[in-house]
């Protein structure tokens, strides 16, 4: 049996870990597997990659354990490590001990603990701000449907500092017309990435798929963030109304629906 081809990917906030992994997967012909080790209940990166990278399998931690017992030959595995995970205290299962360690870091960084840990350092995006005490806040929103205009207002307020200094914000949101949207903000980059994920429209009641938000920042007003997100959510009546409108429109145009 061949040794498993596993790469651990770590790095600072917003340096581009997920982007680098996405690039690697595109260039490889082999089957690719992705796992995010810190996801908890929010799975923004996993959901994003699963939707956007055809042929990529996304696993949860439990599924990884199963996979390691019966690994497929010729598979490459990428394991992303969140910024707050203590690199020295990770205990990897035996089959994974012999893995490649990659750190994705902004240009010009030297002598960080990543440098000591990594086999390879990849240069990623510029860091514009560095927070002394970055705080991670996240919330799952699965099952919620948001009003697009409200979401845009909230996102604009969030990324312009209304709820604290934001270094990184990313989210996946289900909106009224059934689409799943991916928002990605890195402090210093002028534009938020916002795009529709390659997923079918959800037009039958509350969506049964992941949506949620992850924020890294300082002095976060968590109550206000949570309340504003709540105020962006539509009630059952509104959800039903908009979904029906879209269904009628689609019937006229003959598209496909989830």
């Amino acid at each position: 049996m061949q040794p498993l081809n596993i790469t651990l990917v770590a790095g600072s906030i917003g340096a581009g870990k997920t982007t680098w992994i996405q690039q690697q997967v595109h260039t490889t012909a082999e089957t690719a597997i992705y796992l995010s080790l810190d996801a908890g209940e929010t799975a923004v990166d996993s959901t994003y990659l699963a939707a956007e990278v055809p042929g990529l399998t996304v696993l949860s931690a439990v599924q990884l354990a199963n996979f390691l017992e019966h690994p497929t030959d010729g598979c490459v595995v990428y394991l992303e490590l969140g910024f707050h995970i203590d690199l020295n205290s990770i205990i990897l299962p035996d089959p994974m001990a012999d893995c490649r360690r990659v750190a994705v870091l902004p240009p010009g960084t030297r002598h960080t603990e990543w440098h000591g840990w990594a086999d390879v350092v990849v240069t990623g995006s510029e860091a514009s701000i560095t927070l002394r005490q970055p705080h991670l806040w996240r919330s799952a929103l699965s099952g919620q449907v948001l009003d697009s205009a409200s979401l845009n207002t909230f996102w604009c307020e969030l990324t312009n500092g209304a709820y604290g200094t934001i270094q990184r914000a990313k989210g996946i949101f289900d909106v009224a017309d059934g689409r799943s949207l991916y928002f990605d903000f890195v402090a210093g980059l002028p534009e938020t990435t916002d795009m529709e994920l390659n997923l079918p429209r959800w037009l039958n009641g509350r969506p049964d798929r992941f949506s949620g938000i992850e924020i890294v920042g300082e002095a976060l007003d968590q109550t206000a963030i949570a309340q504003t997100l709540k105020d962006c959510c539509l009630d059952e009546q509104a959800i039903a109304y908009y979904q029906q409108q879209i269904k009628d429109l689609i019937k006229q145009q003959g598209e496909e629906v989830a």
């Binding site: 205009a149 409200s150 207002t153 909230f154 307020e157 209304a162 206000a224 504003t228 539509l234 509104a238």
Partner: protein, 270 residues
């Protein structure tokens, strides 16, 4: 003679004081106010008392009407569900703190005011809720002024000041009617102007400063005035009084708190 026109104070007492000071510095002879004295801001009673004390002729704004009637603002002004919720909070808060005599005062405000060839309204001559945006079709804008019979129409409601001149308007018409011969009609109009006085208390032009206008009748000149003031005091009062704190953040950036004038072709049915 100099006529100062202000609008949309929205309970922002600090801003009102700064504007009155500026009006004083410019030695205006008359002051008119286009309504929306209350709503969104932390000092609605103080604002109304000041206007009454100075006996400033005022016409009724859409928020003034809503507070009197207990209604909520026309939902077509809210660009999102979030904005609508914030607007409702502002309405409920204002409704709770307004003194009865202030409510009575707002109830008796006229819908429009007239001074020689000048007309003063909150939204448009037809409706307190209609936004006369700068992009409105020139002929529609012309109709609004002509409907008042005045030469200059002063309006507010959009919270972004402008002066629009409409000159040499003319139309050629042909009418055919059963039982009469065809006839040609010519229409023409002299110079007409629409002046939006902006907003004293909730500016939406991207800066927190209060805006109002001065019309010099002798020089026939209209000046848009932008007045700095200590808006942080208003921000603090917003938070201290339990209004949505996001209003303070938005005031500091000259952004609308909730309602936004979006569609120049939409005519509110309310």
């Amino acid at each position: 003679m100099k006529v100062a026109v202000m609008s949309c104070i929205h309970g922002n007492y600090e801003a009102l004081n700064a504007v009155l000071s500026d009006i004083d510095d410019h030695k205006a002879d008359k002051i008119y106010c286009l309504g929306d004295l209350v709503g969104y801001g932390p000092h609605p009673n103080a604002v109304v008392e000041m206007i009454r004390a100075l006996d400033i002729p005022t016409c009724q704004g859409c928020w003034d009407e809503d507070i009197v009637e207990g209604l909520n603002s026309c939902e077509c002004s809210y660009p999102s569900v979030l904005a609508e919720k914030r607007g409702k909070l502002a309405h409920d808060w204002t409704n709770q703190v307004i003194h009865p005599e202030v409510r009575e005062f707002l109830a008796q405000l006229p819908l429009s005011l007239r001074d020689e060839n000048l007309c003063f309204v909150h939204g448009s001559p037809h409706n307190q809720h209609e936004y006369l945006l700068p992009e409105v079709d020139a002929f529609v804008a012309m109709e609004r002024v002509l409907a008042t019979g005045a030469d200059i129409l002063f309006c507010g409601h959009t919270h972004v000041p402008y002066v629009r001149s409409l000159d040499a308007g003319q139309l050629q018409i042909r009418v055919k009617s059963t039982g009469t011969t065809e006839r040609d009609i010519s229409f023409s109009a002299p110079l007409k102007r629409i002046v939006n006085a902006g907003s004293v208390g909730e500016p939406r032009h991207g800066r927190p400063n209060a805006t109002y206008v001065i019309y010099d009748t002798d020089a026939d000149q209209i000046t848009l005035r932008e007045v700095e003031y200590d808006y942080q005091k208003t921000c603090a009062a917003i938070i201290d009084n339990g209004l949505p704190p996001i209003f303070a953040w938005r005031l500091a950036r000259g952004l609308e708190f909730a309602e936004r004038a979006d569609d120049p072709t939409h005519v509110c049915e309310r």
